[in-house]
Subunit: 240 residues, 2 copies
DNA sequence: ACACAAGCTGCGGGTTTACGCAAGACGGCG
DNA sequence: CGCCGTCTTGCGTAAACCCGCAGCTTGTGT
């Protein structure tokens, strides 16, 4: 068995290396990549079937890398090992995982034991292992309880990118009014009106901008989600 | 000599611990804190004069912690050790460093040698050590070349928070028109008009929202800056 | 088949933004 | 002192945004 480690922090990389050696005696080779780009290349060259991947890397983040890897070989098993459980990450990951693929999501704050267990479960037993904390988010996120519909999330991203209502309408194939309709739902759910009208009509917010901020503060959005969305936007703009 | 380490990642913490031991034989005690809150408390209890501090910690980030520590004892020497050189961080740090204080800013990607050298320079020689990459930003940021004025940065934060023009005017003591004036300058500098009018008048952006996004993508803003700004905003709202 | 909820859409309006134009205010500088 | 650049402010306008109201299309359940 061969394992590929994709992680930009040298300390974490060598820690992972040791953990893999300890948890998987049947693994005879471990290779390392220090960013997503190199990770993709090595995965292709070695036809890696077992990958441990950091999200949030400078050069090319884990979600992007995982997407192209899975596109080439959907049966690849990937364990995401991340510092954060932002809803933006969780959503990003579950959006790209192929049907029936074995994968995992473990936080860096987890114990040695948990990490090693996850390594065996995923790589040997082909099970999915999702950190408890992450799991909670996932349920809320995909179910509708207090969570966001895909369409709401979509429009959130669109205004975060700075598109006008009209542009969003064109991009998503909707009428202007529908876009504004969805926006209203979004404002509701994000509770953007909060301290707006409490005193007088004084400290009112710009709803559109405020919504984006609140989403950021709630980890619904984060830098890497923005980055991806921006890339998709440019793509869409180019193809006219 | 005593050194306090404030860093939330256990791996990085023990790495720092070793580095301090190796670089500073005259240091007889090293204490550790795993977040900003604990860091502040330990600094107070031990009257720490030498601190190595991570920015970006979950509980209370390095800038906040450093601010209160410096408020209590301005002669404290602090070495910031961070993964990123976002302009938002650099600006945040230089805003709170007291006059004549010795401090440093070293990236985690720096070599062992550089870290150890910095430790000695700051803690023993009371010099300021700023990573080259960071230094570049600082110059641009504080000088005006291609950088942002304080007033421009200020208004950027305000719209990022989601305030209306009117609210900003009230908060900053300006007229409505002046606020809009500053906004225009900001839009210019952020080059928000970019692909707006190239094809036709099609894919136009919502300037206000777009400005925030671009600032994020350029690392002019980041999560922790937003967080701080939000806290200040709430404070201002409370005191009426 | 009928009722009901959820989402899309057009209409109309009140409010907020973006910004050109132009008149002061302030601070160097020869 | 007068000239000039930067910053502030008021006025006015066109565009964008927020949203209540109401008619339509769906899908779902009993």
């Amino acid at each position: 068995m061969k394992v590929l480690i994709v992680e930009d922090d040298p300390l974490h990389r060598s820690y992972l290396h040791e953990a893999v050696n300890a948890a998987l005696p049947e693994c005879e080779t471990v290779i390392e990549a220090e960013n997503g780009t190199v990770g993709e290349k090595l995965a292709r060259d070695h036809k890696s079937a077992h990958i441990v991947m950091d999200l949030q890397m400078a050069n090319r983040n884990g979600i992007e890398a995982a997407r192209t890897i899975w596109k080439e070989r959907p049966e690849t098993r990937i364990l995401f090992w991340s510092n954060y459980s932002d809803e933006a990450y969780v959503r990003g990951v579950s959006r790209i995982v192929p049907d029936g693929a074995a994968y995992g999501y473990v936080l860096k704050s987890a114990s040695d034991e948990r990490l090693k267990l996850a390594l065996r479960s995923i790589f040997i037993e082909s099970q999915c292992v999702i950190d408890r904390e992450v799991r909670g988010l996932q349920q809320k996120s995909l179910g509708q309880t207090n969570g966001f519909t895909d369409s709401e999330y979509e429009i959130l991203v669109d205004i975060a990118l700075g598109l006008t209502d009209r542009a969003i309408a064109r991009r998503r194939g909707l009428s202007l009014r529908s876009v504004q309709n969805r926006l209203q739902h979004l404002y509701d759910k994000l509770d953007v009106y909060q301290s707006a009208g409490d005193d007088h009509e004084d400290g009112r917010f710009n709803l559109r901008a405020r919504a984006v901020t609140v989403a950021f503060l709630r980890k619904l959005l984060n830098y890497s989600a923005l980055e991806r969305a921006e890339a998709e936007l440019q793509e869409w703009l180019d193809e006219k």
